[in-house]
């Protein structure tokens, strides 16, 4: 299989920071996106990179596997970064009290199985263009109402934050791994275009930024019929051809009030 990926920071071009990290290993059949969470903890971008770099060859099929993997890897990160905190008491305080957090979504191809795992609110997607069916690791857009679970070296992972399963690969089937804001965008658009609007209407009632987004999706897609492939999926795939195209794509969606402000990272995988 072959993949394409892009990533852009939320404050680009004014600031170039981006705490997302991704890994595309087409030969081994391993893909991963980690969204470093700057809201709590420190060295979030470094932690996200560390996580994707160390994703094992075997998929995370259950929480125990994920927890054991974290048990085996947390200390190397701690030992590398804890000495760096010594010169700055604020960094030291934050490191020891809050650790480093990131969401993580992985996809492993083994034979004809595509094993996915998600910790937090990043999203793995499987789309079949022949039928127009979209499957998602965590499909309910209401999940984005609350702060996500974060994989943190400081604490063991919790069962509520983890999901894993597998999709059987079929010819032509395509996959995407998306950081949370892009995941929100695709799930909201799909729900409205497929006519599954109750959850989006619930969200649109909320007096939050996510509520505004949901309202934007209801208004934008309502009259468009079921053209998810043409209007959402293929434009996402096309946007991943270059950094400029991806930046322009996310800016347009933001301007149309369909995409929340965030770092954006996407991997697209196909035959």
């Amino acid at each position: 299989m072959r993949s394409r990926q892009q990533s852009v920071g939320k404050e680009a071009p004014a600031y170039s920071d981006n705490e997302d990290a991704s890994r595309t290993d087409d030969g081994a059949g391993i893909w991963a996106v980690a969204d470093g969470a700057g809201g709590t903890g420190i060295y979030a971008g470094e932690w996200a990179q560390y996580l994707v770099r160390n994703v094992s060859k075997e998929p995370f099929r259950d929480l125990d596997q994920l927890a054991r993997w974290l048990d085996n890897h947390w200390e190397r990160f701690f030992n590398q970064y804890q000495p760096r905190t010594q010169g700055d008491y604020l960094i030291g305080y934050k490191f020891m009290h809050e650790g480093s957090g990131a969401t993580l979504v992985t996809l492993h191809k083994q034979d004809e199985q595509m094993y996915w795992s998600v910790y937090g609110d990043a999203v793995a997607l499987c789309f079949q263009p022949l039928t127009g069916e979209l499957k998602a690791s965590n499909p309910d857009p209401r999940q984005f109402e609350s702060a996500p679970y974060l994989l943190n070296w400081l604490t063991p992972p919790q069962s509520k934050g983890f999901r894993a399963n597998a999709w059987t690969h079929k010819p032509g089937q395509q996959y995407a791994l998306l950081s949370d804001a892009l995941g929100q965008y695709v799930l909201l658009a799909y729900a409205v275009l497929q006519g599954n609007r109750d959850s989006v209407r619930d969200l649109a009632q909320q007096p939050t930024a996510l509520g505004s987004l949901a309202q934007g999706h209801l208004a934008h897609w309502c009259e468009k019929g079921s053209q998810f492939y043409e209007l959402v999926w293929e434009p996402l795939r096309t946007a991943l051809t270059s950094a400029d195209a991806f930046k322009q794509y996310t800016e347009q969606l933001q301007a149309g009030q369909l995409l929340g402000a965030d770092d954006y990272t996407a991997i697209f995988i196909e035959d």
Binding site: Y93, A209, G211, D262
Partner: protein, 330 residues
């Protein structure tokens, strides 16, 4: 005494400032307020008003210790400022997500409020988080032993102190509110009508204003609360720390909850209605029923309630919904 006090860091003459403020206020509040993201290009502001009058030397309990109200409030403010700074620490950089002002009333004199930053930052109104690091009066060192995943680690933690316990003189609260109004106006002008989360003003007191009647105080608070960005009106939250008499009132929804307590009623009238995005956190943090209205006040609160109140008013890690809404680069 004039209502609008000169603030040292103001760059504009008063007439120009008023004109600029009017220009900002001409942009109406958007349909879904209090949803702007806090980023370096769109920061917000916090202003803390601290009663430093003589009565703040009364004893209270905080974290199992008997200490003066002034000392307890100083500890809580220092912890809150540290939390705000920690939210801004990203990698090796302290990002400019907030402008922070600290105003004391009483303490230094009977008649007017004062900006409290000291050292190199003395006289400045707002500090960025990076400046806040330099404004600490001193740093306390504490040896802490922590167990992380079974590994015992001993570290020396440093905790900055910006506010010390002071309790002198009377309670010129109106002067403090008016100074906050001036600061909010200046801040709005610097934001040039951008879609920024509006300033939050948190007033902590144990007494009654000695420089104004209730009507004068309310007029001053109303002016402050009428200031706005596109994202919403400035929020004024008031907390009356406990004298161990009377019933504790937290985020009431209507004046009838206050009974005959005139001072609680005044605080109620002074305070902002809390925006809807806060409601779930207020209900869960304080164990309150879900209601359609919560007013940002607290009367006869003990120190634990004050800590929780500060968690609602400022985005710390304990306030998950607010953090998600403010989206500090998550």
């Amino acid at each position: 005494m004039p209502d609008l006090q000169p603030v040292p860091s103001s760059a504009l003459p008063v007439a120009d400032l008023q004109k600029a403020v009017q220009d900002v206020l001409q942009r109406p509040v958007k349909a879904r307020p209090y949803s702007a993201q806090i980023m370096r290009q769109t920061p917000t502001a916090f202003i803390f008003l601290i009663d430093q009058s003589g009565s703040m030397d009364e004893r209270t309990m905080y974290r199992g210790q008997s200490l003066s109200k002034a000392a307890a409030v100083a500890q809580i403010i220092n912890q809150t400022l540290l939390e705000l700074m920690l939210r801004c620490q990203k990698g090796d950089e302290i990002r400019h997500y907030y402008d922070i002002a600290l105003i004391g009333y009483g303490g230094l004199n009977d008649e007017r409020a004062n900006l409290l930053w000291s050292g190199d930052m003395a006289g400045k109104a707002f500090l960025s988080p990076a400046e806040l690091v330099k404004a600490a009066i001193h740093i306390e060192e504490v040896t802490v032993q922590r167990t992380i995943r079974g590994r015992v680690i001993t570290t020396t933690e440093k905790r900055p102190v910006w506010l010390q316990a002071v309790h002198h003189y009377r309670t010129p609260m109106k002067s403090a509110i008016c100074m906050a109004e001036s600061l909010v106006k200046q801040w709005l002008v610097t934001q040039a009508a951008k879609d920024v989360y509006p300033p939050t003003v948190i007033n902590i007191t144990d007494g009654v204003a000695t420089d104004a009647t209730a009507d004068e105080l309310l007029a001053c608070c109303d002016r402050l609360k009428n200031l706005h960005t596109v994202d919403g009106h400035a929020l004024l939250m008031n907390i009356h720390v406990s004298d161990e008499q009377g019933k504790t009132i937290l985020f009431p929804s209507k004046a009838a909850e206050l009974g005959a307590d005139q001072y609680a009623r005044l605080l109620y009238d002074m305070s902002s209605e809390m925006p809807a995005p806060y409601h779930a956190d207020i209900a869960s943090l304080f164990g309150l029923d879900q209601r359609t209205t919560y007013v940002g006040m607290c009367s006869n609160a003990d120190m634990d309630a004050l800590v929780k109140f500060m968690n609602i008013g400022t985005p710390t890690q304990h306030n998950g919904h607010f953090i998600a809404n403010l989206k500090l680069d998550l």
